[in-house]
Symmetry: C2
Subunit: 383 residues, 2 copies
Amino acid sequence: MRDVAIIGVSQTKFGELWDKSFRDLIVEAGITAIEDANVEGDELDAMYVGNMSAGLFVKQEHIASLIADHSGLAPIPCARVEAACASGGLALRNGIMAVASGYHDMVISAGVEKMTDVVDPTPAIATASDQEWEAQQGVTFPSLYAMMARRHMYEYGTTREQLAMVSVINHKNGAKNPLAQFPMEISVDAVLNSSIVADPLRLLDCSPVSDGAAAVILCPAEDAKKYTDTPIYVKASAQASGTIALHDRKNLTTIDSTVHASRNAYKMAGLEPKNIDLVEVHDCFSINGLLAVEDLGFVEKGKGGIAIEEGMTEIDGDIPVNPSGGLKARGHPLGATGIAQAAEIVWQLRGEAGKRQVDGAQTGMTHNIGGTGGTAAVHIFSN
Amino acid sequence: MRDVAIIGVSQTKFGELWDKSFRDLIVEAGITAIEDANVEGDELDAMYVGNMSAGLFVKQEHIASLIADHSGLAPIPCARVEAACASGGLALRNGIMAVASGYHDMVISAGVEKMTDVVDPTPAIATASDQEWEAQQGVTFPSLYAMMARRHMYEYGTTREQLAMVSVINHKNGAKNPLAQFPMEISVDAVLNSSIVADPLRLLDCSPVSDGAAAVILCPAEDAKKYTDTPIYVKASAQASGTIALHDRKNLTTIDSTVHASRNAYKMAGLEPKNIDLVEVHDCFSINGLLAVEDLGFVEKGKGGIAIEEGMTEIDGDIPVNPSGGLKARGHPLGATGIAQAAEIVWQLRGEAGKRQVDGAQTGMTHNIGGTGGTAAVHIFSN
């Protein structure tokens, strides 16, 4: 198995991008990543693209071929991989395997979602849950995560204010990220007084509906210095499945797939949680940002709320979480998120993260979730 | 890069399976493949599933997680890969890479589509073409392939009867396949007198709308004999992209992605067309069955019609094509087709194909197309 490095990254601005189409977004991300890697488009051997539901959002399947056509990448092999909101993480992982296996030498792994071309994105988003047992019964994603939040509050005494702090810290960081959808600070009071969505979750506990794309360029680690002075190395690429349906779980306060994927990632990298300098976690709802710091092993189960309240996850805390602003403030174009997380870690490990730079960051992690944890992808990178 | 072998295969009956759900079909295929491989479910390390559009057909994305949940495969990594009707071929290829890379030791690559739960599958199928430039303008897949057929007739003198022979031979073979959707023979007259769909293509030139699933079990070649006396070895796994939109092509009578993928496959395997004993080609429409024998290099461009008329592709011909019955007679549940093709080749190379057995088959090929050739996956196997 060959070691793999990242030599280029990109992210488009995330937001409600009315003036950019699906194909505009992915081509913009691709070209920017290629330029960042100092390579030519015809040096690419293969493409993987993460996308949850172009079929429902823009009535387009076969998007890998669309992209190959529109960007002139054909005849190289192009594939879409999908695992709901973890699609980007899987595009990254399959790109890594394609290089590790020796099948391909230079791969672009990208992610894209165009969510604002439909009147109501809720039915499309709901297809990440169990359609027959959850979505058809009227359950939405805010309500699924609300049940997890309520149970965590009941079992561990987690407070409403602690949940709000997840969003507050994300926005504090996101305010320093020019590519974020909502680059402004918010207060705990603002979260607590925002509209109720699914009790106890309010509007400012929820990540937004977003358009956007991101990309990374991968090559064998041994070749990386040919292209860049600052390659970032993939130390671990792990993925795990959980139950898609919430009622199939033993408990609601742990996401098993996060636990499995992260433990496999630590083992693969030969590292422990204490060795991670920063992490991009999947805070699609505030409760998921809180569960992540527990399930990834940064704090004991049940202690996430207190740790966040005490500043552990701030940029200058013990384990900086989501310096990018996370899904909440950077935005969450579903298939692009896992790749945008990796781009942020690369910028941080290169020391290029500007006002949101984590000092001395050398090892970073990404955590990307599909649905309520039916899929988790965890990656570890170092400079 | 590790060599890879197939140690187990399965296919459900293809057809309008009103009494079986999406999840029933994929679990049936999975269990049957696991039994065929003489392994236990908990020996599997990862799953890849090819599916074109569960989002539009059954309102379910995140199907890899759904399957992991419903079949008890969690926590192993499960991923959906999609490239329209070539999704199965890509699930196979990504499973092969996962084993070749050393990331996983035993992988199940499966494919599934449940197409008959919607009133009209046409809008979903059309998302395999360019939505903005083709589908939205009213172009359907029969009409796209009809243009290719008409042009081939114009340029090379291919006759209506020669096209009909593609379907006739498929049905002659499919009549001997108990898992086929339409296991009965048809005549040239029946094709020529069937309803017009898109001139010159008629109903019996077109593959049907189908439900079904198929699966293969992969492991490192060096371990294969632990599980079976008749492992089938993967000699090549290649994929290429073409333009998704027909108007972007230099000509309509060659599918470039088939040419690129097959040439890469021959090179990888160190073989030439003359070394292939049988092939499963992607005859979604009769013209595509004809283009395939030309673009895969079995006959010169333009000579496909005459070669088929003269019996080259019959089971006892120079290059037996689609002993299974192909997409036309076996059926075409989009995401399952690429895997079902591999299952047929495995049965043939094991000598287990019953009344449709190709005598002395030692090397077989599969050819799986997405859209009108936006994607092609070509695999070569030997015993």
